[in-house]
């Protein structure tokens, strides 16, 4: 393999200085003359009919400029991810969840707008809410949307499960449930709309898919998309959450700004972020797994029900992703997965790091451990026996002839398993070790076309500006893109700047989702940089009067391969190239190999690659209180190629804690359709004292579809950490928990019967 100078190195975050000094401008840090603030009035009942909204009293308050309701909107009043869009910006009649906005007050201050909300008289006739999937799917259920209460339903069929079960010696079944989880980025959703005086409008937004916002804002302001400019401000985390919500407040702020001719900012408070905007789907999942005595899994049949809340949002794609991943990283001949998302009168569920995979992985990996117990086979050996290898058929019968590093991730955690597996229980404390594996598709796959446009522009001083439509939300894509451009062009990383996403200036690159930035985005940057490199090499060959093959670019110089001291500074090469007329900028497109997929059976080519992983957790449980201490956590992932070890392990550590919290701590709690814990005081967000001691082990089995072989790593650890936790605790307690989060209280409740 070629030696890399920058790829594979722990380069510091390139946009880190402005963040550690507090100078980075997040949306809330931008002030514009005459700026006003919006605050949304929320329904407060999970289902109902709006009879009237009287804002006359609110409008009399000093400092209040406007109250917007559905009738004041300028466009179709519909948003969503997939047509037919089902979510109103503000409902004109029916309320479908308690946190739904029904009006926007615009005032001089946020506090003033919030106070004025109290003086809006909204007459709402409550309807009996539908709060469970069972209620929603009942035959005589009221329809939350005209098309019914099933948002999306598909079935994957590989082989014939009946035949598979007939071949089995053992068949086990289990039912599992998971709950809603909130994204909890520290910066709540915010958007600022500024009329720009040229008959256009600019939105500064904390978001992850700027072009998605542009499209929806333009449609709902009833202006051409080219009249809308979206600038992604520094974004304080997103994890899937700042898509629909950013669209909603972007449209509201934009509408108010257009009508008033003044800048308008809408900044959510924490309670609004939790209760008003999307969460991770809750799930009810039934598994049936058949295996031969030797451990060979012959069939898996799965039914996934996802509670998507009031609106579709990403439910269709989450439903598909859960379906494709439900059988796990195993080569199984007979698979049937029915996956369905359902409407209920709760806060809508959408994208959240992992995207349907954590729910099914928890269930699947719990069941694999149960199967191991049944068969008397070591859980790791059972996984190894069935694990996918290059050349095997995935659940969709796709065959990868490389970059299937699953078994290596098992090998990586095995020593720790042997070390920790034998700890004796003592008096008050119980010990347990669990492992869990994950498979996670990289790229949009069958969810749509997967194209990224990236530009690389070199100035005459050899500094480089990279533009790409994918958003930096903290995950480090700017750093990765800088590394790739610097590697290709032979310059130091700090000569590269990756610009903010501004829809006027970069190409639509689709949403920043599906762990695709490094893989698909990185490819585009690499290709653009390679084209610029050609100009430099051509120019240098003219300057050296030698063949292009004799030139390398490194350390900011064009260097002769045969004489390392023969160097021309790249700024001289770039300047000469400019004056010679060689292009120094290129816009490249990376298109993931398109999916080739049968949408009835869901068989075929889906993702360009999968990330594989295995986590091990070793826990100590206090049998009195149910407190759990994670003594060891090993996370191994096949990432193809590590571009930046520090950034990649940072992704693993962060995603693992979110997974651990999903497994142990966090849940959005409802009572009568109203969220009871919409604050950090009562939503059990993990503090630094709740962290887990994640050790990351990378497996590098390169993919031809990513830059230098790299595959994404942003999402997969969530699922594996949650599932490994569940297996570890179940082993420690000697009881199979079939629900996450497994809280201290749940653990104590089980032990209470046994002490």
């Amino acid at each position: 393999m070629a030696e890399h100078t920058i790829i594979g190195k722990s380069v510091r975050k390139v946009d880190g200085i402005e963040l550690v000094t507090g100078k980075a401008k997040f949306t809330a840090d931008m002030k514009f003359p005459g700026m006003l603030y919006g605050y949304e009035l929320r329904a407060g009942v999970p289902a109902g009919i709006i009879e009237s909204i009287d804002a006359s009293e609110a409008l009399k308050e000093p400092g209040v400029h406007m109250v917007l309701t559905a009738k004041d909107l300028l466009g179709p009043n519909l948003i969503g991810v997939l047509p037919p869009f089902d979510q109103p910006v503000l409902p004109d009649r029916e309320i479908r969840y308690a946190g739904e906005s029904i009006a926007l007050v615009v005032a001089d201050t946020r506090e003033g707008a919030k106070r004025a909300c109290r003086n809006i008289k909204a007459v709402i006739t409550p309807i009996e809410p539908i709060l469970t999937m069972e209620q929603a799917l009942a035959e005589d259920a009221r329809k939350i949307h005209p098309q019914g209460n099933v948002t999306f339903s598909r079935t994957l069929t590989k082989g014939n499960v009946e035949q598979g079960f007939a071949e089995a010696d053992v068949v086990i079944e289990g039912s599992y449930t998971t709950t809603f989880q909130d994204h909890c980025y520290i910066e709540p959703e915010i958007a600022c709309a500024v009329p720009s005086g040229d008959n256009r409008i600019t939105l500064y937004v904390s978001c992850q898919s700027p072009f998605h916002i542009r499209g929806h804002v333009a449609a709902n302001l009833n202006v051409p998309a080219s009249k809308v400019k979206v600038v992604q401000a520094y974004t304080g985390g997103s994890f899937g959450g700042k898509d629909d919500a950013a669209v909603e407040i972007g449209i509201l702020a934009g509408t108010a700004a257009l009508k008033l001719g003044r800048p308008v900012t809408i900044a959510h408070e924490r309670e609004e972020s939790i209760a008003g905007t999307n969460v991770r789907h809750a799930a009810e999942i039934a598994y049936k797994t058949g295996a031969r005595k030797d451990g060979t899994i012959t069939a898996r049949q799965v039914k996934v029900l996802l509670d998507g809340g009031a609106y579709a949002s990403e439910s269709p794609f989450v439903t598909m992703k859960a379906m494709i991943h439900a059988s796990g990283p195993y080569a199984i001949d007979h698979i049937e997965v029915e996956s369905t998302s359902v409407y209920t009168n709760k806060t809508y569920a959408g994208a959240f790091r992992g995207f349907g995979v954590p729910q099914v992985t928890f269930a699947s990996e719990s069941e694999i451990d149960e199967l191991a117990k049944h068969l008397g086979i070591d859980p790791l050996e059972l996984r190894r026996k069935n694990g996918l290898k290059a050349g095997d058929k995935t659940a969709t019968s796709q065959v990868y002839d490389q970059s299937v590093g699953y078994l290596q991730t098992l090998d990586a955690v095995e020593p720790s398993l042997r070390e920790t597996g034998t700890k004796e229980n003592d008096g008050r404390y119980l010990y347990g070790t669990g492992i869990a594996s994950v498979i996670q598709g990289i790229s949009n796959g069958a969810e749509g076309v997967d194209v990224v446009g990236a530009s690389v522009q070199m100035s005459q001083d050899a500094s480089v500006l990279v533009g790409c439509g994918l958003a930096e939300m903290g995950q480090g894509s700017r750093t990765v893109f800088s590394q790739i451009a610097a590697e290709v062009l032979g310059i130091p990383v700090d000569w590269v700047t990756v610009r903010q996403v501004d829809t006027d200036a970069v190409h639509d690159s689709g949403p920043t989702v599906a762990s695709r930035s490094t893989t698909v985005g990185g490819m585009a940057v690499k290709q653009a940089a390679e084209t610029v490199r050609q100009s430099l090499v051509k120019m240098a060959s003219l300057m050296f009067k030698t063949d292009e093959s004799m030139i390398v670019l490194k350390e900011g110089f064009a260097v002769l391969t045969v004489d390392d001291t023969a160097r021309i500074p790249l700024r001289d090469v770039a300047t000469a190239a400019y004056w010679t007329g060689f292009p120094l900028m290129h816009l490249a497109f990376s298109q993931a190999e398109p999916a080739d997929f049968d949408h009835d059976t869901h068989q075929g080519r889906v993702y360009i690659a999968y990330n594989f992983g295995t986590h091990l957790m070793h826990v100590k449980v206090d049998r009195y209180t149910g407190e759990v201490e994670v003594l060891k956590h090993v996370a191994s992932h096949d990432v193809g190629k590590v571009v930046n070890p520090m950034a990649a392990s940072g992704q693993v550590e962060g995603a693992s804690l979110i997974g651990f919290a999903l497994g142990h701590m966090e849940k959005v709690e409802y009572k009568d359709g109203i969220i009871q814990n919409p604050t950090f005081a009562d939503y059990a967000f993990p503090s630094i004292r709740d962290r887990i001691p994640t050790e990351t082990i990378f497996v590098e089995d390169p993919t031809p579809h990513g830059p230098y072989g790299a595959k994404g790593i942003g999402e997969p650890p969530v699922a594996a950490a949650a599932a490994a936790f569940a297996n570890a605790v179940s082993q420690a307690v000697g009881h199979r928990f079939t629900h996450i989060p497994i809280t201290r209280e749940d653990i104590a409740a089980v032990l209470q019967e046994e002490v």
Binding site: E111, K114, R115, R118, R428, D622, Y624, T625, E627, M665, E669, Q676, N677, A681, D682, A684, F685, P686, S687, I688, R689, D690, T743, R744, E745, A748, A749, Q752
Partner: protein
């Protein structure tokens, strides 16, 4: 809005007598309440500049703790009974503890306030002053319910006294919540213990978050008094803990789990106070 910072008790009481005032100490609870209500107070009387309101001093009756002593100062203090500094350490985060005051924690009267059960276990006395005069109220009778106390609108907590008796002996506090850092108690407990030759000469215990107000554990105390404090006695005492508390299910924990935690926590604090190896 009016914001006054009296530097004497007299000035504060006189302003309070004119009405329309909100007493402001550290403000960490008040700011949350005011943000939620969206209401703008007419007048804040910030009492933290009254010099006698800060710090601790040993007097004839016992240890005087000024109401504006911060929770952080309390947490760091070696002069006060251990359960009180432990309770203070358990509150919120460093940022909260640096701003919040002990008087504020008491007057806010949250059933889960972590200095409350220590105050009750230590039979602390609260001195309340209004334009009508001064009175002393025992910690146990001060609290009437969640966010409710015997304080009148124009009445000010001016002094907290831990009696001399309770400066002897040993004490301990423990709480558990939904996470490990920056967390609200699902249950907390404080115990003060006077052992003579391994025998319980006197014990006082109190629980928080198991009732609308912090509760003294009288039946448990009665059982323990006069007994030799060994593992068996401690274990037996847990049966009385159940009788002493009356928890409910809410967003933070179920009733059943609160019973479970109360026993476990009491087990731990009793051992800790007795200097026995714990957990």
């Amino acid at each position: 809005m009016e914001y006054v910072q009296p530097d004497t008790l007299e000035a504060a009481v006189s302003r309070l007598g004119r009405g329309g005032c909100t007493i402001l100490s550290g403000g960490t609870d008040l700011a949350v309440v005011n943000r939620a209500s969206g209401l703008k107070p007419e007048c804040f009387v910030d009492i933290c500049r009254i010099s006698q309101f800060s710090g601790m001093e040993l007097g004839e009756e016992g240890l005087h703790i000024g109401p504006c002593t911060t929770i952080a100062e309390l947490a760091a203090s070696a002069e006060i009974p251990h359960c009180l500094s432990q309770g203070a350490s358990a509150i919120g985060s460093p940022q909260i503890r640096n701003a919040a005051t002990v008087g504020g924690n008491i007057c806010n009267a949250s059933p889960c306030g972590d200095t409350l059960s220590p105050m009750v276990a230590l039979s602390a006395s609260f001195v309340l002053v209004s334009p009508r005069g001064s009175r002393a109220v025992d910690a146990e009778t001060f609290f009437l319910g969640p966010k409710k106390t015997v304080l009148a609108d124009d009445e000010l907590l001016t002094d907290i006294i831990i009696g001399r008796e309770f400066l002897k002996g040993t004490s301990a506090f423990k709480m558990l919540g939904k996470r490990k850092g920056q967390v609200i108690s699902q249950v907390n407990a404080a115990v003060w213990l006077l052992l003579e030759d391994g025998v319980v000469a006197k014990v006082q215990a109190a629980f928080g978050s198991v009732a609308p107000v912090p509760l003294r554990a009288r039946q448990t105390e009665a059982f323990l008094t006069g007994k030799e404090l060994d593992a068996g006695t401690i274990h037996e005492s847990l049966a009385y803990v159940k009788q002493d508390i009356r928890p409910i299910s809410d967003i933070r924990a179920s009733e059943a789990y609160r019973y479970r935690l109360a026993e476990s926590i009491f087990h731990d604090v009793l051992k800790q106070a007795a200097g026995l190896a714990c957990c």
